[in-house]
Symmetry: C3
Subunit: 470 residues, 3 copies
């Protein structure tokens, strides 16, 4: 069976709409990519080491792929994941690839299938469908190809036409790879860090104390009291800004922030630090620290991206054996209207403050996010994220928010990917879906094709730059 | 750029469906308008004073418009809103209009854009797009036109073919404008008041005591105790019915009602009145008073329209400076199944009692509202309201409720508008969307075109009359 | 007016999609029916008694039909329901049928209308629309037809091509009708029981003590203490498995399960049994007993179907007079992520354990159910159920889950019906909708038509067999 993604894929089948959609898509297909949030490691581009094989590139590190195979009974170790208990041994890449190819049809209809088809065909030049029969041949072909110079990370980066790429980094990171890239005369790309302080803000977890020590080491500022922690965080934000960062990124259970008086904040810090606090105290301190991030954003102008609402590590045994980010983070119901009132009361109309809101719960699109973004100049609608970063979900997002907030309160697209080769596939999917969506509106005479062309260009260029201050 | 709304706008692009939709739309396009809920002031028609200029008509009083411009950084005062602190001065109408025209593209895709295009073109005869270049010319053209006799409120009322218009009124209102209209031999329209007692029922707010005094003054009945308040409310309902009212309208945080024994209700009243009550007491008293409204409806037959679920005045600074209804009421998650059980247990099958349920949270359409309306004869499905009063949201509403409740448990359309000229635009939008929706079902052979024609006629005539007893 | 359901009904109107959809539909139209969950009584097939008349067959026992007529003011007794208070007398079947026919247009657009049209036309050979004019003629025609041999239950069963039918049975049932069928040499169908222990697990209700006595009588095991109840339930599960059961089915307010230590469970049991428990104790004991069901499933391999989230008997007066299942069970907001964590922590990757999740709240499709089924091999996505078992809702279900979980974590279709003649109509509807849905994806080049043909076949054969271990 040939692998040949259709040139009109994801465009509307009805002829009058397809023509409009094609023209809109063509008008943005080759625009340089703006990637304001993702999980590519700057080291990848700084060192430019070749990828080794298709399993290590496309399967093992992609929790979208491994979780679905796991749901069909494939053990994690068979997908190359390392079991920290040593009970099971990770399969070799060729074995992992075979398993993946044998289960290829299970991905039919998923977002991953579309990205993988595009990665295999458009990026890696594959022209046959993965299957039990073709697995070995494909493994050999791809392993050889990945050693060629034009498949090295930097060459791919250039061929993808990435205009700006934001990584996601720990505040204690020295950002040496970002610096190396900036100082490398042979490198002309733009790779900026993003300040992701989750483990320093989450005072409910067992790792918090160790995190504070790491932060103290990185900043040279004692983090043994509340004021020290705040100062150390401010110091590291400045370090990140000096390396080009324009945004912070936050994963929290929900969007609540606290703005306690300083004495109460200090008391909570000391209680948690000394182990005498209740769970509720620790949660409140975490909300207070997230509130401090908002306050700092209102001063230093770093955009605050909020990714909330995931119940992390739902299956403790998988967490224990294979660690986090292995496919069992499950969404929770979201609430923003009440949760964000305190921060928006303070900073909602402050021109320095800017936040981009992401959700795993699509019920808030029309109910809460569009109304908030339709009033507060500081609030941008994040793109459909995780579990919703797929064609039908993207249509639902546009349907749900546009009638209230228009197109110009949207932050455009983020790829949020750990898979370097999926970057162009994901942006291409988003451009196709936006073209399809706008073509439907043009065909219904809601807006003109000229207006739609302006909108789709802005959605893939101006809006993400503006929302993330890139 | 010309402004020329397409005759087929909002109809399905696919040719076989478009033909059906056109025929269905034509069959109801010119039906007289039934407007059972809105915010037009009876004074407008009683005095018939000319509108002054397009900014005062279309921009400043429309919080759909001002909030979106505000979200793009335009200060409220620049839109003509009066700042009670005096910190900023309101712009003059011509300046407001310029600001609006310069930002015209930000409305692309919104419900407001569609209404505004129809108002400008179909009602006011504008044929060029608003823009920085055309703003002054349009301002002059429209200001002149609004002084012509056929653009006075009564002339527009007649040209809109409004068969029945319900206003929204304070129980203390003497309804003199309604009476003036009724007694005016030169006036043949039907304008009825709606009893909107929110401020008398909300015992949690600071304005409650003053409200009780107003009510006492209007009714001549002392409101210093629970029984007096109840009696005064009954008296004012009778006053409203005598002026043609058929419905009451309620904005509450949620749909919960209490049915306490009278001693407990009196105790709560006295506690709140004397300032010794807890917040929870005040909330319970508010729910008890809403329950009294239901009880009165079960006796006097006034339809109880429930508009719940908004977090009012989310941004305190804007509230303080520009007052309520300025675009920062943000929806909350809704719940009806549990909340309505007590009232429906009492009155759900009582033929005198009737309620129309509105929601800002579309998740309840399929989950709660359609099942409730699909069992209780007293429950009607309100039209998609505020933030959901837009084409795609209307389609989602019909998709969500019809398979459970059919078309005949729906209350048809309400325009809920503060903008007099938007009335025909909003009804036209609803008729187009219903035609499009039904055409899709006809094309899928779910119902015949004859049945669809009967349904769309009923949705825009019989159903709103029946649901609101008009 | 003729009654002639269109051969292309529910297929997409756009020509290129309709062609694909037709071919996909044709490929599964005549597949034998797998019905892993429903409410047909085994007695019906064991005794093979003729149906008496169309009202008793299609109206009175179908709460989808009676609730909608009730919502239009038709008293339950007029639909043939028996009022236990004796205040109203049930109408005779001919009267019931007349009432139904007069109100036929109120069903336009509902799921019931589609099923009823198919039952009347395809199963019962009716060719005129029900109406006041045709009611008597239809009543006579159908009453006569139902006496013919080919309209007896067994003959219909064969003509419906039912390959497997699961009934829903009380654990105290001796399953004599199932045994009779199994031992009948003239019967070649497959009818298996399903273990539905709700009344033994719900310790919050007044009927629990009597239920325990019934269970003791059926099992011969004392249920006066916790260990006895658990043992009796295990005994009855074994009895059911011996009669072919492969699944248990549970209606609970929500999906929470408790896994207390045995001493605490015994204490709760004794407290509830002796009437000294709090409501919260009784709720916790109910959750503990549901947890025991999961534990037993992880041992005996019976699939655990969870149907949660209904507020039963919302209108007490209707409950008192006409009993349960009369149309006033109203859905509640659902939550699965937190609720299922304890059971999935224990058994989520246990290959013996399997659960099929159903919901009345479609917001959990994309947010919780697809992510859970996209990781846990034990979790299957139940078909859109009750209030969502309709064409547009089925499309929303597929849109919401497929991009995350693919097609192969879905349990296919269940009819869940009390109406024997609606079985083929409901499966046909599901096959049409799946064909329409897949045709849309094929036309958008998301998958090939060959892949779609494989998927639709699996959805209506392999997936339900696998999910329910049939």
């Amino acid at each position: 069976m040939p692998l040949a993604p259709h040139p009109d894929r994801l465009l509307p089948p009805e002829p009058s709409q397809r023509g409009i959609a094609r023209r809109l898509y063509e008008s943005v297909r080759d625009l340089p990519l703006i990637s304001p949030h993702g999980h590519v490691d700057a080291r990848l581009l700084a060192t430019d080491e070749a990828f080794t094989d298709p399993a290590s590139l496309l399967v093992t590190p992609d929790h979208y792929v491994t979780r679905l195979l796991h749901s069909h009974g494939v053990p994690m170790a068979d997908l190359g994941l390392r079991d920290s208990t040593g009970d099971t041994a990770p399969a070799q890449p060729r074995e992992v690839w075979r398993t993946f190819c044998e289960h290829w049809h299970l991905f039919l209809g998923t977002a991953s299938r579309g990205w993988l088809e595009a990665e295999l065909h458009d990026v890696l030049g594959v022209t046959v469908q993965p299957s039990a029969d073709t697995a070995d041949e494909l493994f050999d072909e791809l392993t050889a190809r990945l050693r060629e110079p034009e498949f090295r990370p930097r060459a791919l980066h250039d061929s993808f036409a990435i205009a700006a790429l934001a990584t996601t980094d720990d505040p204690a990171d020295d950002l040496s790879h970002h610096r190396a890239l900036a100082e490398d005369p042979s490198w002309s790309g733009r790779v900026v860090p993003t300040f992701r302080p989750d483990r320093y803000l989450d005072a409910t977890g067992s790792g918090w104390t160790a995190a504070l020590d790491d932060l103290a080491a990185a900043s040279g500022i004692g983090t043994g009291d509340y004021d020290g922690l705040v100062q150390a965080l401010e110091d590291r934000r400045e370090h990140f800004r000096a390396h080009g960062a324009t945004a912070t990124d936050h994963s929290a259970p929900d969007a609540r922030m606290a703005f306690l008086d300083i004495a109460e904040a200090r008391r909570l810090f000391d209680a948690v630090r000394s182990g005498t606090a209740t769970t509720e105290d620790a949660r409140l301190l975490s909300q207070q620290l997230l509130g401090e991030m908002a306050r700092m954003s209102s001063e230093d102008g770093m955009v605050m991206a909020l990714h909330t609402g995931s119940r992390r590590n739902h299956h403790p045994d998988t967490m224990r054996r294979f660690g986090p980010d292995t496919g069992h983070d499950i969404p929770l119901q979201a609430e923003f209207t009440r949760a964000l009132q305190p921060v928006l009361e303070r900073f909602g109309t402050n021109p320095r403050f800017q936040t981009v809101l992401f959700t795993l719960d699509e019920t808030v699109f029309s109910r809460e996010l569009a109304p908030l973004a339709g009033f507060y100049p500081s609030v941008y609608l994040g793109a459909p994220w995780w579990f919703l970063d797929a064609p039908r979900a993207m249509h639902r997002f546009r349907d749900a928010v546009t009638e209230t907030a228009g197109f110009y309160r949207s932050a455009g697209f983020i790829d949020d990917t750990r898979g370097f080769c999926s970057i162009p596939a994901r942006h291409d999917t988003a451009r196709r879906v936006d073209a399809a969506h706008l073509a439907g509106l043009v065909a219904e005479h809601v807006l003109s094709e000229d207006d739609a062309a302006r909108v789709i260009h802005d959605l893939h260029d101006r809006q993400p730059r503006k929302a993330f201050r890139l």
